[in-house]
Symmetry: C2
Subunit: 259 residues, 2 copies
């Protein structure tokens, strides 16, 4: 008998099953992962990204109709397999069209702040899509650590996970950080500002550094601004329009990593 | 009597009022603006952006509780003023916390494609947040025309308007374009690809040009790829991670406008 048949399979068809209730919270409540110590990865793209980083899910969840097709690729991926009625899928999904599979993963242990690595500081960035996009840009351009100050969207929430498209698994994610803790950084803090500083395309950026990205409406706090070694702005020859924070982050990370 | 009192004011407190029904559709249905020929700008930021471009709203809508405070700044802004019961606000809002005011604007007449201006082509970009972010970047970096191919998110939908933060009013927006119509462009089409072409940071980009940005999952279509004069990719020293399309657009527009 091959080990291909050794992962236990449980079938669930009741909405009131305790596991379904847990998954519902994980998939629809942005901070449930903190209580449960687990995160929910919905859809095969995210699941593959986790496996590619060598992670072993606590469980894999499949829809009844997908299970026969999932078997070959996925049956050995997790510690156990759960097959649920298709009718229950919307219960455990944060998507308009629920995915036919997902993983439950132990929430990775929160790493301590590392003082000397290229980082991105998120200062109360609110929108899950923006946070996820910044994580992707950070991973792409070699910024290995995300420092999320208190008030930033929960990094492991289902929405940020989805927008991050797997970048979470390539990064050191430090959450709930007090601004005072930034004093420990040995890399210089660089801040973008709409009105102050030299232009990014004319200003060499020290590398490694920690780029600070601020709240969508209010920008970077005065406290964080005061901690910055360098303030730069992105020239906007088209006029006074402002950039989305994730767009600004992409430009800054790209320019400092490559140009 | 000053003209400050000449704009008519109508009070509405019924959910069944025809205007409330129209506004509900405009605020919650992504393509209702095409039927009604009007768009809904929710919140004072968007409203100010429209006024700054010299637009005259068909009507301004205020909550009953905000109206006494709105008077001084806003009473002359539109052709007429509507004051509605606070209880009706959620009916005409696309936000979790409804704004206390908004404008109804005539949908600007669709401009014809202009052949020779710096442009951004959107090829079935789906996410309203991404489209809005790209519009902001385009306006900031002097790309004056957006060419939205069929299948792209509706540009004047309430979600794209919100994400665009006023950039709509600074741009020439051409919607529902057939890919064949791109043959009329005299500016070269430049495409980003994850695997082909030279690196953006080493490749001079002809300006003006038309940058093509593709579908979040599938990228740019083969047809559009074949029309490109130049293919470039964004080097990602951090590894194989992919960028969000609005992040990639920001980098491309910035790099071609400034670096």
């Amino acid at each position: 008998m091959s080990s291909a048949f050794s992962v236990p399979v449980t079938h669930v068809s009741s909405r009131d099953n305790a596991l379904i209730k847990d998954l519902r919270r994980l998939s629809q409540d942005n901070t449930a992962y903190r209580k449960q110590g687990r995160v929910w990865l919905e859809g095969d793209h995210l699941c593959r990204a986790a496996l590619a980083r060598g992670l072993k899910p606590v469980m894999a969840v499949f829809s009844e109709s997908f299970w026969p097709f999932a078997h070959a690729e996925w049956a050995q991926a997790a510690i156990k397999n759960i097959v649920i009625s298709d009718a229950l899928l919307p219960e455990i999904s944060g998507l308009e069209s629920p995915a036919r599979m997902g993983f439950v993963l132990e929430l990775p242990t929160a790493p301590p702040l590392q003082a000397n690595v290229a980082s991105v500081i998120l200062d109360r960035v609110q929108d899950a899509g923006n946070v996820g996009s910044i994580l992707r840009s950070a991973a792409a351009f070699g910024f290995g650590q995300i420092i999320a100050l208190k008030g930033t969207a929960a990094l492991w929430s289902p929405k940020v996970l989805r927008a991050g498209m797997g970048a979470h698994f390539a990064l050191r994610l430090v959450e709930g950080v007090d601004p005072e803790a930034l004093a420990a950084l040995t890399v210089p803090i660089v801040v973008t500002s709409s009105h102050h500083g030299s232009f990014l395309h004319q200003q060499p950026i020290p590398m490694p550094c920690a780029w600070a990205m601020g709240h969508e409406g209010q920008g970077v706090s005065d406290d964080l601004m005061a901690r910055a070694s360098l303030k730069v702005r992105i020239d906007q020859p088209g006029g006074e329009e402002s950039l989305n924070v994730a767009a600004a982050a992409a430009i800054c990370l790209y320019a400092s990593a490559l140009v």
